[in-house]
């Protein structure tokens, strides 16, 4: 990993999550009817932190699920590597709920597209709102986020790496040079 810049540190990431937690509660007029779904891998941990933030503010612990979208991807035919699949873990009913879908980086929009398809197979939520920590541009599908941590316009030979303590051992957002495919 060739780091070009550290864009956000631990405190910065925490401030972003605090703000987003408030925005979620503001937009939905409280936490009633909300559920959180994190996308594997890092979205899961970000969703967990939002759950804690919202609990601190509103006193309610929202249901939290984890979604693995590997089976819904559209790039099996073009990728060389076979992706590892893992289990989705949504133990509650999402019918008629307002789902907050949490992921780390929004790029082409294809992962979110597959997540939307996957969620529809779990039920019919009354709304799905997208929460993203970094929007790096270059969308290939008409998808936008409802809550954005940071807008970071990138070039195609750059990448955004978001790290979380629970998985990577540190909290940070880095701008790195794209690995050669």
């Amino acid at each position: 990993m060739n780091i070009k810049a550290k864009l956000v540190d631990k405190e910065g990431l925490d401030r972003i999550l605090t703000r987003i937690a408030h925005e979620i509660l503001e937009k939905n007029k409280g936490s009633k009817n909300l559920v959180l779904i994190g996308m594997r891998t890092r979205g899961e941990f970000l969703a967990k932190r939002l759950q804690q933030k919202i609990k601190d503010i509103d006193g309610v612990e929202l249901p939290l699920g984890v979604l693995d979208v590997t089976l819904y991807r559209d790039d099996f035919r073009t990728r060389l590597k076979q992706p590892q699949v893992s289990v989705s873990d949504i133990t509650f009913d999402i019918n008629e709920k307002d789902v907050i879908l949490v992921d780390d980086v929004l790029y082409t929009g294809r992962t979110v597209r597959s997540a939307l398809n996957a969620l529809m197979d779990f039920g019919r939520p009354s709304s799905i709102q997208l929460c993203i920590l970094v929007d790096r541009g270059h969308r290939e599908l008409p998808i936008r986020a409802d809550y954005v941590g940071k807008n970071i316009p990138t070039s195609l030979n750059e990448e955004i790496k978001l790290k979380v303590e629970e998985y990577d051992g540190e909290d940070a957002i880095y701008l790195v040079e794209a690995e050669k495919k």
Partner: protein, 306 residues
């Protein structure tokens, strides 16, 4: 890490990593089967033919469900309604089916080695759904998945396969798979149904069912295949029941804690008494559910290989 082969012909020689990958992937599909909509779009656009030259309910329906739940296009071929009746050879049938642009073929045939032959005839991924008395790999995989789900591991576990070992493809696939995964495998049955050189595969032979119950953590009880002339190998069914039938009295007398598997269909009152077949030790219906998940895993792993 993809599978090391683009076909699943048997478990003989399949590396541990591949079996591990299939069993781990099946956990994902097991979760899909619990959803309200039990379908994922993973194999959209793939065409899979189920070529069943031998009768089958469980395996065929299980494969068909697995294919549909992965959104593949599944075509069923039953010999009774096909041109096989007009004298078409297997080779021609397969070539014709391939000309219709098929991606995968699931085959069951009474002749051992048929799946291997198909790999040389066409480009599709071939999955063996049972070839004669040779192998039935997906059955063994689902047996291993079910044991692992229930007990948590395969390594070091003592598993005994009971019944007609000589005419069982389930037994052979189980032996290869379980040995690879580090289990200690034995077989138990009438001496006429134990192949002479079975020890060469590294399995112990037990002739006494009580001993088999005492010594093992898991019994995989095979069906006495009356359609394969099983009756010629022992004097009477009554005698088989007396010496090898598994009853709850027998289980209680020898050991309380044991796991019983059966690949189905059961001859109730023969290899398993009815109260054992419905009792607390068995996981026969879980095996059937797991079978769909395991077959989805195999189809997914082979179907998404480039």
């Amino acid at each position: 890490m993809p599978l090391s082969s683009r076909h699943l012909l048997g478990l003989q020689g399949v590396p541990k990593e591949d079996i591990q990958l299939i069993l781990d992937t099946a956990i994902t599909f097991r979760e899909v089967l619990e959803r309200p909509i039990k379908r994922v779009p993973t194999l959209q656009g793939k065409t899979i033919v189920n070529l069943f030259y031998e009768s089958s309910t469980r395996t065929r329906i299980s494969f068909e469900l697995a294919e549909k739940r992965l959104s593949a296009d599944a075509i069923n071929f039953a010999v009774s309604t096909s041109s096989v009746n007009k004298g078409e050879s297997l080779k021609d049938t397969v070539r014709n089916i391939e000309a219709m642009k098929v991606d995968m073929v699931v085959i069951r045939h009474a002749a051992a080695g048929t799946p291997l032959m198909l790999t040389k005839l066409c480009d599709a991924n071939i999955i063996n759904a049972g070839d004669g008395i040779h192998e039935h790999p997906t059955q063994a995989l689902l047996d291993m998945y079910s044991i692992r789900e229930k007990i948590g591991r395969l390594e070091g576990l003592k598993v005994c396969i009971v019944g007609d070992i000589a005419h069982s493809r389930v037994a052979l696939s189980n032996i290869f798979g379980l040995k690879t995964m580090g289990a200690k495998v034995s077989v138990c049955g009438p001496s006429t149904m134990i192949p002479k050189y079975i020890q060469d595969l590294g399995v112990d032979v037990i002739y006494n069912i009580d001993e088999a119950i005492q010594e093992n953590d898991v019994l995989n009880v095979l069906r006495i295949q009356l359609e394969r002339k099983a009756r010629e190998y022992f004097p009477s069914i009554r005698e088989y029941i007396k010496y090898f039938g598994i009853t709850s009295e027998r289980l209680e007398k020898n050991k309380k804690d044991i796991l019983i598997l059966h690949p189905g269909p059961i001859n109730r009152g023969v290899e398993l008494s009815s109260d054992v077949a419905d009792g607390p030790y068995q996981i026969i219906l879980q095996q059937v559910t797991n079978g769909v998940a395991v077959r989805m895993a195999v189809l997914y792993l082979l179907g998404t290989l480039n």
